[in-house]
């Protein structure tokens, strides 16, 4: 098992055992900034080698993926799960969007096995982050009623994760491979170490979310495991349709399967304050994230191999 996953497990166990271990909030923030920039930079460097002609259709398909996923999740949550309308919409938005931490673990997973993939994929992370939020709000409210769209757009598009990913992409794109080389020791050389520390804290946070699990019953737990697997299939299907490599298919499957726990919660708190934030976080952080990191990723890897072999 990848040692970074062991760090996550250490965090979960320490959290469950109520250890006083904690990464200071400012350090968690710092590590996440470094990860977001590193992912953006790496993607940007690769981006400079792509032609817009290849990218545009891919971007459009990924955008469709981000719109479709919450539209599938919503009726399941609302009718099978009997969640209130805003809660169903909010959870749907979380699962339509992505988790950068899961993406980072997937990157490390491929690196450990030396499997190549379309390295400009961070672009898709940005593209997937936003649309599910809009879909979620419209699902809860319709288009007409008084959503503060301006303030919301500001919150989402200028939120930390979008700015750092996009900023990193642009800097990497402008600077190119030689340009980023002198800052590579920090952003690339330390990537896995930083990710390990980050996952340690994620484990601690996950453990504290797990406490609420009982409150929300079995349906949520089942949804939080089954829906990502469905999403992964859809994501892998689109990747196959786009002709991505096996590594790329795996990445898009994992992205689809991941659920947001940063950008979407903030946006929902603002746009759908009547939705229960703890419900969504328990699902995405307390179940889906650990599931993906520990079991999902090998599954999606197998899935992408099957598709590649079959195709």
């Amino acid at each position: 098992m990848d040692p970074i996953v062991l760090f996550f497990i250490l965090g979960v166990l320490a959290g469950i055992a109520r250890s006083d271990l904690r990464l200071p909030a400012s350090i968690y923030e710092f590590l996440s900034i470094v990860l977001l920039l590193a992912i953006g930079l790496k993607g940007g460097v690769e981006l400079s080698k792509q032609s817009p002609g290849t990218l545009l259709p891919q971007i459009l398909c990924v955008l469709m993926l981000g719109i479709t996923l919450p539209l599938i999740a919503f009726p399941i949550l609302r009718y099978a799960g009997r969640l209130k309308r805003p809660d169903a919409a909010s959870v749907a938005a979380h699962y339509g969007s992505v988790s950068v931490a899961t993406y980072a673990v997937a990157v490390a997973y491929l690196a450990a096995q030396e499997i190549p993939f379309e390295e400009y994929m961070p672009l898709f992370v940005v593209v997937l982050e936003v649309p599910a939020i809009l879909v979620g709000i419209i699902l809860a409210r319709g288009i007409t009623r008084g959503t503060p769209w301006g303030a919301l757009a500001h919150e989402v598009l200028l939120g930390k994760s979008v700015v750092l990913l996009t900023g990193g992409l642009l800097i990497g794109w402008v600077a190119g491979p030689e340009g980023v080389e002198p800052i590579g020791n920090l952003f690339f050389g330390l990537f896995k170490g930083v990710l390990a520390l980050f996952l340690l804290e994620m484990g601690l946070i996950t453990a504290s979310q797990m406490g609420d699990l009982r409150r929300y019953g079995l349906f949520l737990a089942v949804f939080a495991i089954m829906f990502p697997m469905l999403s992964a299939c859809i994501g892998a299907g689109i990747a196959w349709f786009l002709g991505l490599s096996q590594g790329g298919t795996f990445m898009l499957a994992t992205l689809a399967a991941s659920a947001s726990y940063i950008a979407v919660p903030s946006a929902m708190r603002m746009a759908l304050p009547e939705a229960n934030p703890s419900l969504s976080l328990t699902a995405s952080l307390g179940i889906t994230f650990p599931f993906n990191v520990m079991l999902g990723i090998p599954l999606y890897d197998a899935l992408s191999r099957m598709l590649q072999a079959g195709g």
Partner: protein, 100 residues
């Protein structure tokens, strides 16, 4: 010297509301505010500031009675239903009443 009395209104709520609350407070006529980061527990459970979504802020505003009432009424109407928030007021004496 500290004979002039004012209201001190203290609000504890979610960190995510900082920008909106300070805007509202200023719009309602307060001349200033002081904020510290906090954590805590209440009806909406533990908010232990482990990471960004889960922290509180504690806002203090020194102002006259009317402004204090206006702030309390406004927050009650707009935030109490959906956000973790408590609010209380007390009497304080200030040094330079013209500032508040």
């Amino acid at each position: 010297m500290l004979s002039e009395s004012r209201k001190l209104i203290t609000i504890v709520s979610e960190s995510a509301l900082e920008a909106r609350l300070t805007k509202d407070i200023e719009a309602l006529g307060a001349h200033g505010y002081t904020i510290v980061d906090a954590r805590g527990k209440g009806h909406r459970g533990v908010r232990n500031a482990d990471w960004q979504q889960a922290g509180n802020i504690r806002i203090e505003v020194v102002c006259d009675d009317a402004t204090a009432s206006a702030i309390a009424a406004h927050l009650k109407q707009h935030y109490y239903e959906n956000y973790a928030m408590i609010l209380y007021t007390s009497d304080v004496n200030v040094l330079r009443p013209e500032k508040f």
